[in-house]
């Protein structure tokens, strides 16, 4: 059975009032709840994406001993709103020879692909919009729409730089999907399920219960996942599709105004989603790192705060890496994926399977402390 936010809410008293109010139109009620929750999540994530651009500029300024944006609002924190207004009021230029239909479609596909992943992102143990029993699989699948959009954006612009950027982007995304997916497969192997609720329910309590410390292979898999995820979201040091020194700005060279904004927003939200998934799969997600008795609402709020903290720490690392490491060459990029990450990921999966059989699914902490 697929648990959803509606089925979660339905266990509380105030829900009875709502069900009585709607009478026999229960599906309308469910639809309204989904609509409201989805709008809230999309709004929050759009804000996170916007703040991501601010964080990127501020942190890069820190790393380079500059000040960064500091004019709009306190510490320049409203800079992203100013940027948004600027983008929306910019003229929407389209190249004369562009493929009109695909040119309009590409940024939309990017946004759809990213926002659709938010449906299964576990903010806390209760607040998952739809805790599908194929949750993580769904997330991997639907996020490949971003790859299609990158390719189409590059093709439709009808410019050499966009074309090269788009082809690089698509080949990079589908190549790095393999080590990332195998690393995630390892987690589903340990948890015995693909739903985020199930995966999180195994990681409650102390940090030793997190899947990253479950066995040495999971520990390696976390870093394989992080490397692959950086490449899948086109972040430095793997930002070849938009390498500004060679390709102007890659697949979105010809995009202006809000369409460029959509691409940028999709990229920043995707980074957040990838960090959130990493936190949920390997670092315990929203589970509090200690045992504490709380009421249901404070508990959920605390879990959301914990989840956000972990995700944003990973987010900080992503930005940190971007402004520290130089960019790879294309051949290096492909050899990293196919000659190193994929074999390591497959070795990890085999090793983890053997570990689970030999030690009857016990984690390292269980073995060390002698729990049975």
């Amino acid at each position: 059975m697929n648990a959803t936010i509606v089925s979660y809410l339905s266990q509380y008293e105030f829900f009875d009032f709502l069900t009585n109010l709607f009478g026999k139109h229960q599906s309308v009620l469910a639809f309204l709840i989904f609509l409201i929750v989805a709008l809230v999540v999309v709004a929050v994530c759009a804000t996170i994406g916007g703040l991501g651009t601010y964080a990127e500029r501020k942190i890069s300024a820190d790393l380079q001993a500059r000040l960064g944006p500091n004019r709009v609002g306190p510490y320049g924190i409203l800079q992203f709103l100013a940027d948004g207004v600027k983008m929306m009021t910019k003229e929407d230029v389209m190249p004369f020879t562009a493929d009109k239909f695909l040119f309009y479609l590409a940024p939309m596909l990017a946004l759809v692909g990213v926002f659709a992943t938010l449906a299964v992102l576990p903010w806390s143990s209760g607040f998952i919009i739809a805790d599908l029993n194929v949750g993580i699989f769904y997330l991997i699948a639907i996020s490949s729409l971003v790859g299609v959009s990158v390719f189409l954006g590059g093709y439709a612009s009808n410019s050499k730089w966009s074309m090269l950027g788009g082809m690089r982007g698509a080949s990079q995304i589908i190549s790095y999907e393999i080590p990332v997916t195998i690393s995630i497969l390892l987690i589903t192997l340990i948890a015995g399920g693909m739903s985020f609720g199930k995966i999180l329910s195994y990681q409650t309590g102390l940090p030793t219960n997190w899947f990253i410390f479950h066995n040495p292979f999971a520990f390696i898999a976390f870093f394989v996942y992080c490397t692959g995820a950086l490449a899948e979201t086109n972040r430095a040091p793997f930002d070849l599709p938009e390498a500004e020194s060679e390709l102007v700005s890659g697949y979105h060279t010809e995009y202006t105004g809000m369409r460029f904004g959509f691409f940028a927003l999709a990229e920043y939200i995707e980074v957040f989603v990838v960090c959130g998934v990493g936190a949920a799969l390997f670092l315990g997600g929203g589970n509090l790192p200690f045992d504490i008795e709380l009421d249901i609402i404070p508990l959920q709020l605390a879990q959301v705060v914990v989840f956000m903290t972990k995700s944003l720490l990973l987010y900080y690392c992503v930005i940190w890496i971007r402004w520290t490491l130089p960019r790879l060459r294309v051949d290096q990029l492909m050899s990293v994926c196919w000659k190193y990450l994929t074999p390591i990921a497959i070795f990890n999966l085999m090793g983890c399977a053997i570990w689970l059989v030999v030690f009857h699914g016990k984690s390292m902490a269980d073995l060390l402390m002698g729990h049975h």
Binding site: M1, N2, S27, V28, A30, F31, D99, F101, L102, L105, L132, N133, V134, F137, Y138, I140, A141, I142, S144, L145, G147, V148, F151, L152, Y155, M167, A170, S171, I174, E177, G193, M194
Partner: protein
């Protein structure tokens, strides 16, 4: 209610995109409409409670096959060759003259009646189930079936995929003339 609306939307997306694949002149647009049609089909799977198949559909087609097709279109120049003759409505490219259409229609009618005869038993005896919003999870059962009942096909398909991978790489490899 949910299921009916989802079904209608998915069916519209599937059939509409498929028609668009047929009538659009640009091969790149055809690929994108194929993507829409495949997403619609995965929606149809979802209305039948086949969650794993639906997600596999998205995974394989969107993440793999459609991008592969787009690459192939780019590598082969992206030109499309629509036959100059148009059909009666002038929409789709033509497949022949009026005689071939007449024969095709005749065959289709005969075929349709035969099929209705064959299918009618199945449709009549199909148990009418009430649709609830909840479907049982199919993931565990599919896993067991793949490892137990269908393990030979499972292994063979992995060999097939490996063969296809190596074969495709060898065939597409540029050779010195």
């Amino acid at each position: 209610m949910f299921i009916e609306i989802l079904f209608l939307l998915s069916a519209l997306l599937t059939v509409g995109s498929a028609v668009a694949v047929l009538i659009t002149k640009n091969i790149m647009h055809s690929c994108i409409f194929l993507l829409g049609s495949l997403l619609g089909i995965s929606g149809l799977y979802a209305t039948m409670g086949a969650d794993f198949v639906a997600v596999t559909q998205i995974m394989v087609y969107v993440g793999g096959i459609v991008i592969l097709m787009l690459f192939a279109v780019m590598l082969t120049g992206g030109k499309d060759f629509v036959s100059r003759a148009q059909n009666l409505l002038g929409l789709a490219p033509s497949m022949g003259n009026k005689w071939t259409y007449a024969i095709g229609l005749l065959v289709a009618v005969v075929f349709l009646f035969t099929n209705i005869q064959l299918i009618s038993n199945v449709v009549k005896t199909a148990p009418v189930k009430t649709f609830g919003p909840e479907f049982p999870s199919t993931v565990n059962q599919i896993g067991h079936l793949l490892i137990k009942d269908h393990v030979l096909a499972f292994e063979l398909s992995s060999v097939l995929l490996l063969g296809a991978l190596v074969g495709a790489a060898i065939i597409a490899r540029p050779r010195k003339q």
